[in-house]
Symmetry: C2
Subunit: 196 residues, 2 copies
Amino acid sequence: MKKVSLLILAALALAAQTVADGPRYNADGALQLPKNYREWIYLSSGLGMTYGPAASANTQNPAFDNVFVNPTSYRAFVETGHWPDKTTFILEVRNATEHGSINNGGHFQSDIRAIEAEVKDEKRFPQKWAFFGFGRKDVGTPNPATSSCNQCHGANAAVENTFVQFYPTLLEIAKTKGTLNASYLQKSAEAAPAAH
Amino acid sequence: MKKVSLLILAALALAAQTVADGPRYNADGALQLPKNYREWIYLSSGLGMTYGPAASANTQNPAFDNVFVNPTSYRAFVETGHWPDKTTFILEVRNATEHGSINNGGHFQSDIRAIEAEVKDEKRFPQKWAFFGFGRKDVGTPNPATSSCNQCHGANAAVENTFVQFYPTLLEIAKTKGTLNASYLQKSAEAAPAAH
């Protein structure tokens, strides 16, 4: 009987782990940086991505950005094309190095420059999704609901409030499941060359 | 007793899962592409990385490369700074897109251009590590032991036969565990500016 109890406990602990990757907050509402986000599901990277005018691009000192999502939400998205409540994205910004070891051209990743997060927490945030800046710290303060992050994601995101258009494996899933935002589809159609 | 047996079976199945992410080969020695490598541990990305002369860099059409490693081997490396037998790296090469959605500068990732793998399999390969090219297929043929991949990794790798110098989180672990190759340390010292 003891063995059974121990195994049941172990099974319960494993089950708990699978939903334990949601957001955790301090008493003041700051988001705790998930310590193991590098072991979450990787979505994609960019280098020097620039959402404003091209002239504002930092071409001299571009940064890599790596995006990770909590595994529980990833599995839900693969099944449904939707993000469940408690979905947490981590955006890791890293310096880009050109010359090092045997690399003579292009860029590879070096030190962390900053970390940001996007969280879906329907009860906590009236706008459902919120953005957090960590800088180099392990707690992130929430941006106001009127922040440029909220506004730009709200206007341009491919799925719900997230930039799935930049995550190639998820974009295919969203197309298959039919969960692309109507506003995204409309803008994509306008941007595509007219068929003659 | 039945419950105990079922739970033990479940526990054994879980244990088996944790070592089930090693290499699988066809009868002809070709490596099967692990279907879920995108859910493995992400190590890092580069854009347009060039190991030959800088003049050979493809600056007009650079590619992203994303590196993933099987979770079992990752956990062993975090503990020891060494790669266990059956370690499998997947190198995913993706096209880089500059203009799309709201991106006006820099690059984000789009379609897969090619996939490669590096595998440590001590009994199968006299040189312990082997390299495989998949192209866009789901089976990869092994490169000969004299391939440029083997030679360049053998001469320049930071840890065993792997380019840990380009994986920032693992490089820190290797430094702490003291598992950097002597040849890598010597080249790094020679490349560093002399202390005066």
